[in-house]
């Protein structure tokens, strides 16, 4: 979509300013959860948004196409669709494609053309290189084909988002019909964009999704640092730099989530100076090397990919994040009330410390929610 | 004498210098480097009076910042030899390239053959340190530029003559001795010409003997030169006419 910046940022501001509410839930045993629960939770936090953006990510929803990259596309016009489909056919084997199911509702209008494609990377691309191949193709469509925008590209997962309150967007996409073991939701309150469907959260590349609340004061520093690694920050949003930061460190550099958290929200030098030699060296090296990825200013985020959901708040906890657990279920939310709406009884709730990630992992890999006690 | 041999073929310069340093620190008094091909900074980080023999063609900045060792190059040397050298000795059985012994403060350099452009520039001396450079052949332009101290001797062996210009330009210390004819227009404006005095003659006789001892049996410019075979006559001495060559440059 060549005019992403214009759609996103019609006033040409330095960046978009937005805040929100966020929610995540995961069954660490892998049992499927119905979409209607997260719609209820998001509706409970309606006051945190302003109707200019809502969205969801759901994992484990396409078991029949588990091995295919599921591309969700929005088109401004048929021409964009034609060119994109030709592009997809020339770079992938299109296993299946269809309209993304939706229903007409009174609350939602102005939707773009929404379609999904289940794609296999053609032979000739080594398996290890397939993810990078897909990322390149997503970038090529999003920056090169007018009127087309890929907003979801992972396997067996999908992003559903648009302009409206999240519960209305959820109903529009018929999310109550989906089942997945991990759900993330977001309600947006932008101040300088009228709202564009592609600009809603989650922001996603491959199966990584990020929803974010807050306003990064370090945005421009994060932007140039990521540009050095080849990321073009066309969306002018904090969430975009967070997502690229996750992609760089977690996917490309294969750093564990704890390390990612130590980069985004590092301990204070005072604390580092008091650590053991080994930890001091680790944190000092991380801060010196990746200071450009310190996410400075208020944020709470939920980062998800297959098998893992991570909650993280900035190091001096300027944005809220509540965690809760009941049996195999782990919840993350901007507000506890939203969790209680769907699970009145909880084994534990806690407020994670700034910079300390809450990590929920799928069993049997590791069934645990780290970071707190009742 | 304990002697350590390193085959430098294909060895990266940092690795090679590290190995030489380790050999010196292990107490070896001599290190022999074979098959040297362009590795730089040989001798730079050695702070022991170790002897290093280099076979092959060492890279630039041989003996840069060097403090103590003796390096003998059995072949030609490249640019930047003895850069900012503090003490020790470098002997080259052959020629050397440009910018030889820039800003050298102490120690001695003997080159059997010719040297390139801008050699012996900004030579200094300080306290008991008086750098000495003896070149068997000839040198090219800007020889001894900015010279602030030390002694440089051009023996003029090998028959190549001295075609250099701007010799000693900006010179404000030290002395250059050249055997053979030097035209006034070859010299920098700040240079005076004199006959070597008695003390100079004694100094020349000494370094000529040192040169003969190092190269007399070789195959280069110094070949077959036994005692008395390098003339101690026929030298001119170049000296700085002013301690402050640029004192009048500025409006006072």
């Amino acid at each position: 979509m060549t005019s992403v910046a214009k759609l996103q940022n019609p006033y040409g501001d330095g960046k978009l300013i937005e805040s929100c509410g966020l929610f995540g839930m995961m069954d660490t045993s892998g049992r499927p959860l119905r979409g209607r629960d997260i719609l209820k939770a998001m509706a409970n936090m309606r006051d945190r948004g302003n109707g200019l953006g809502g969205g969801f990510a759901a994992y484990g929803i396409y078991p029949e196409f588990r091995e295919e990259y599921a591309f969700h596309l929005m088109y401004e016009h048929e021409e964009g669709r034609k060119r994109t489909e030709a592009f997809l056919r020339s770079h992938f084997k299109v296993v299946h494609h269809e309209a993304i199911p939706h229903r007409a509702t009174a609350e939602i209008d102005g939707a773009p053309i929404l379609r999904r494609y289940f794609l296999r990377v053609e032979k000739g691309v080594a398996r290890a290189g397939q993810d990078d191949y897909v990322v390149k193709k997503v970038m090529a469509i999003n920056t090169g084909i007018d009127g087309a925008y890929v907003f979801s590209s992972g396997k067996d997962m999908g992003v559903f988002k648009g302009v409206g309150y999240p519960e209305d967007i959820g109903r529009y996409y018929c999310l109550d019909d989906y089942e997945g073991y991990l759900w993330v939701g977001h309600s947006r309150f932008p101040t300088n964009t009228p709202g564009w469907w592609g600009g809603a959260h989650p922001f996603s590349i491959l199966d990584w999704t990020v929803v974010h609340n807050g306003e990064l004061s370090s945005y421009d520093t994060n932007r140039w640092f990521l540009e050095m690694y080849g990321y073009a920050c066309t969306m002018q949003t904090d969430t975009e730099v967070l997502a690229y930061g996750v992609d760089l460190l977690a996917r490309r550099h294969r750093l564990p989530v704890e390390t990612l958290a130590a980069v985004f929200a590092p301990p204070l030098w005072e604390a580092i100076d008091r650590m053991s030699e080994r930890e001091r060296r680790r944190h000092a090296t991380l801060r010196a090397t990746f200071g450009g990825l310190l996410m400075n200013g208020p944020f709470s985020i939920i980062v998800a990919h297959h098998g893992e959901m991570i909650g993280l708040a900035d190091r001096i906890r300027l944005r809220p994040l509540v965690a809760a657990r009941r049996g195999d279920l782990v919840f993350l939310s901007s507000e506890e009330s939203a969790i209680r709406v769907i699970s009145p009884k909880l084994d534990a709730t806690w407020i994670p410390s700034g910079g300390e990630p809450v990590i929920a992992r799928l069993r049997p890999v590791a069934a645990e929610a780290v970071g707190g006690n009742a | 004498m304990s002697r350590f041999v390193i085959n430098a073929r294909g060895v990266d310069q940092r690795d090679l210098n590290g190995r030489v340093r380790a050999a010196a620190e292990a107490g070896n008094e001599a290190v022999v480097l074979r098959n040297v091909h362009g590795q730089r900074y040989i001798g730079t980080s050695l702070r022991k009076p170790v002897k290093v023999d280099v076979y092959g063609t060492p890279g630039n900045d041989l003996g840069a910042f060097m403090d103590g060792p003796t390096i003998e190059v059995h072949g030609n040397a490249q640019d930047g030899l003895g850069n900012t050298m503090n003490s020790g000795e470098i002997i080259v059985h052959g020629g050397a390239g440009d910018v030889l012994a820039m800003s050298m403060r102490g120690g001695r350099v003997f080159v059997e053959g010719n040297v390139g452009y801008r050699c012996a520039i900004h030579l200094k001396e300080y306290g008991s340190k008086v750098p000495v450079i003896v070149i068997g052949g000839t040198a090219q332009d800007f020889f001894g530029e900015y010279m602030a101290g030390g002694r440089v001797v051009l023996l003029g062996l090998g028959g190549d003559g001295l075609a250099a210009n701007f010799i000693g330009t900006g010179m404000h210390g030290g002395a250059i001795f050249i055997r053979g004819r030097v035209d006034p227009e070859q010299l920098g404006k700040e240079v005076g010409v004199a006959e070597p005095d008695e003390a100079d003659q004694a100094f020349l006789a000494g370094v000529i003997e040192d040169y003969r001892r190092r190269f007399g049996r070789g195959r280069g410019a110094g070949r077959g030169r036994g005692a008395g075979q390098i003339p101690t006559e026929g030298f001119v001495k170049l000296y700085p006419r002013f301690l402050r060559p640029y004192g009048r440059l500025y409006a006072q």
């Binding site: 004061s217 010196a288 400075n296 200013g297 | 840069a64």
Partner: protein, 501 residues
Amino acid sequence: MPFFAPAQFIVDRDDARCIRCKVCVNQCSFEVHSYDAETDEVRSRDERCVGCHRCEALCPTRALAVRFNPMEIRPNANWRPEHIRDLQRQADTGGVLLTGAGNDKPFRIYWDHLLLNASQVTNPSIDPLREPMELRTFLGRKPDRLDFDDLDGELTTELGPQLVVETPIVFSGMSYGAISYNAHLALNQAAQEFGTLYNTGEGGWPAEFRRFGNRTIVQCASGRFGIDLDYLESAAAVEIKIGQGAKPGIGGHLPAEKVTAPVARTRMIPAGTDALSPAPQHDIYSIEDLAMLIGALKEATGYAKPVCVKISAVHNAAAIASGAVRAGADIIAIDGLRGGTGAAPKVIRDNVGIPIELALAAVHDRLVKEGIRNHASILAAGGIRSSADVVKAIALGADAVYIGTAALVAMGCTLCQMCYTGKCNWGIAVTDPWLTKRLNPDIATRHLVNLLRAWSLEIKEMLGGMGINAIESLRGNRLQLRGVGLEDWELKVLGVRGAGA
């Protein structure tokens, strides 16, 4: 026939207040004041006055006032008094005009056209007095990625040598000789006390200071004064000085008058000769030669110290900096048009180079575009006057700044620009032991530490306002800047939006 050349300063003496203590007579190295015992009068030769205000400051009865004397000639926007005075001096002497300190011409000072942001509503400002605010800065090459052991999670990537400073303000190189021993001692002590760095400049490094080596950058400049292995090994980092903002492209001559015995000892040259610094380093005629010297210095220091390359801000600074980083520089220092000097030809100081703000922005952008910005830190120098300038420099892309003139002013310099005369009445830009004594190194240390403290507090205030609590999040964060009164092309070079946009 004499020129019409009125005194530049007028010394007003209130005779009723003057107690004939002769402090002014004894203090003035330019010999402005004299006492006539016969008439019991103190007289002034105003034409010798350089406007350093030493006498005024020390006069116990406040009987003295030194005022600038505007040349009362027909106003002419083209032929200004400075031109006329310079013409006269050159007609008189046939020499090159020297000057000291930084460029005093009214070239646009971009700091004064940049305004900072503050948080309102959408993100909170942070209260630096009560919440953490971090200024610690690492200077040196950073790796592109970090690797950890798969089994035990141990960090396996070794971070190259770094300089760690507790505030992003580093003292700039000023040679011993250009400034006094006591000035060096004070800079040295202040850097140690505050956790920042002192730079020896190119005039060697007094041996007794080497106990402060972990807080010292030593210079390797074209004159190679005082450089031996001990000098290199005792320091925290080595800086290759290619250029200086006040005099890009030219060398320097420390006049023999300033080469006293201790200066000569420190530079390891004979006393009483001019100390010449060639224009280029004669072992660097090209970028690969720079790589060679960087390599030699790293070899000489066991690859344990970062190597900084200092260049003047010139027209193609971005390309030069990029080349230097690729040649192995771990830190790039850029010294702008308004950088200071102990002595420079006036025509060079006032006409060569570009402002630091533009060069800094261009260098940062180029290194980002080439994906090597993390391979070197950037030190911005040349006309940093306040903590706001520091913050703006970092927002434009610097890791830290060098201050020279500001530090001298903190020690008492009044910017009379006579550094090159060797007569500094304040004991700063001087080597004469009688004048050097005037600078009490412990008081000067206190003043420097106070300056660092005050600026650091102010930087924290500004950062907090922006909602940033670690200095690394300001680096290259140009959205925190807006331009006022700048042309489009200037905004573009700076990468900054106009105010309101």
